[in-house]
Symmetry: C2
Subunit: 323 residues, 2 copies
């Protein structure tokens, strides 16, 4: 299905918003892009990057005449934003978002959506640990999943248009219930972030191991957690404030399992440890097979391997073959 | 300091052993490399890869005449290996290893080391999630730290030689007490692996979220944990069996902090969440500044970004500017 919108309004222009702007423009999906931000500096940055056609600090102004409006601000700002833009949304427009939680969004935004506007919350499962308008790139969504959670009464044709929009940017799309989305994301995203933030915090406060040692010897595994724990603090604060029930339920499951594992360590139960560590390998393979990660080993190094820094030493013992 | 050994014996030839073989050969640090394995298949693979000069299933045979012996087998096998090779170690030789725990190694191996042999346990903090002889590469240690824990009575000159050996392979080297090593690694490596294994196990057993959903939507953070949780099961079983006390102590700290965080989520304490999530960003920056990770964003994709898979759609609405 081909797709074209006359005016796309992006409310907020961080990593996701700027990537949508670049992808939608490059794929010819929109005629005009209007961008609204809360802060002047962010707006100036977006303008310098040439991400849109219209720039404003007034979200209501940005959505006028737009047939596609996507909230790309932190979820905590949605209620106020929805109240501000609600009266100015054009009849027939599609209103969507990119927030990491969906039931909360339905509650906060839904009440401000006027009749005749199709409210279809969305969540592209894509990102990097970088944030801000300059972090975006057109390929961010390629090969990644986007979840849409159409609200009651939305016309199938509008859902189809939004699905086509995301597919044209390279996404795969799945529609589901908002509550189910929140449960799926709690385990695949929110709990991983919570425990990554937690262990980095723990390591930061030890007395027996210095911070310098933690940093030096981070290549043993800790390093990978710091990447996740460097994600945008405000966005993640909002995730945990707004998906509390699903997060606490999944955290409970995680902690139950961790108690069993802790006991296996304490009792020295080798077979139980090996069985778990073997089982978890299979999931990794499935993720690589599904194209959601690369099988290339990660050394914490970009692209090329660096050369070994020191030259071959001069030998202090005689003879020997060459290297 | 320049360094050269006449015969290097590698007992075990997985990721680390094969990388040592390749790096030591390339940098001209050794004259002859002898390789011993437990299984014939592994030995055949090492021979096909041309990793050494002498191949044997008999560890005692491998160490004869060697002035540097490095145990590169799973730590669980060290006791039996040390008993087998002890009587055959050459006077003046250096005996080392690459195991992830050190106090246990000192206990298990130390008792079999004859007088005149310098026992200097070691641990290169480097690796990938791949294992086996074919996973090795000469640059694995470049820019990474190697910890050495010289035992009592070892001559400084021997420690210096082993330090020089690792430096010549590109490592940075730090010497410390075995007990301190085990505490540092518990937090920087063992606990990260334990909780990664745990969450992947949890996700694998949920009823409310299908395995297929976990895999599809893993790009939200879960994916990063599966890489760690795909590490060698036997090696990691041995780590938890042999560094129990330090692991349980650090796990206790992690769980205390997690209880505080869980409470903040339950109470909806936004400022506490944001404060933690902001603090953890600083550690990430320190790790990048220390050269232990790349600042390049990780998309779970190798090297180049893939192109957006679908062509720009034909428009079904008129006009518009070009992309």
């Amino acid at each position: 299905m081909s797709v074209h919108f006359k005016k796309l309004a992006l409310i907020g222009i961080g990593l996701i918003g700027s990537s949508i702007a670049l992808a939608a423009r490059r794929q010819g999906l929109v005629e005009v892009i209007s961008i609204a931000t809360r802060r002047q500096e962010t707006l100036d940055e977006a303008r310098e990057l040439g991400l849109g056609d219209i720039y404003t600090l007034d979200a209501a102004e940005a959505v006028r005449g737009a047939d596609l409006v996507i909230l790309c601000a932190p979820v905590g700002a949605y209620g106020a934003l929805a109240a501000a833009i609600g009266p100015h949304l054009e009849k027939g427009a599609i209103l969507s978002d990119v927030g990491s939680v969906k039931e909360h969004v339905v509650r906060q935004v839904g009440q401000h959506v006027p009749p005749g506007v199709s409210f279809i919350p969305g969540h592209p499962i894509a990102g990097t640990e970088h944030s801000g308008p300059s972090a975006g790139f057109a390929e961010l969504f390629a090969g990644r999943w986007c979840v849409l959670t159409p609200t009651e009464g939305v016309a199938q044709a509008d859902t189809d248009r939004l699905v086509a929009f995301w597919r044209a940017m390279g996404s795969m799309v799945e529609c589901m219930d908002a509550a189910h989305h929140d449960m799926v994301l709690a385990i695949t995203s929110h709990i991983p972030h919570l425990i990554a933030y937690n262990i980095v915090g723990t390591a930061d406060e030890l007395e027996t191991v210095t911070k310098s040692e933690v940093i030096k010897f981070s290549a043993g595994g800790f390093r990978d957690f710091t990447r996740i724990a460097a994600s945008d603090p405000v966005m993640w604060r909002d995730v945990f404030l707004t998906n509390r029930d699903a997060v606490l339920e999944m955290l409970g499951r995680f902690l139950e399992d961790l108690s069993v594992l802790q006991r296996a360590v304490r009792m020295g139960d080798g077979p139980a440890l090996e069985a778990l560590f073997t089982r978890t390998r299979a999931i990794r393979r499935s993720i690589i097979d599904a194209g959601q990660d690369s099988a290339a080993p990660d050394f914490g190094r970009p692209h090329e391997q660096p050369p070994i820094p020191e030259p071959a030493p001069v030998r202090d013992h005689g003879g020997g073959d060459d290297a």
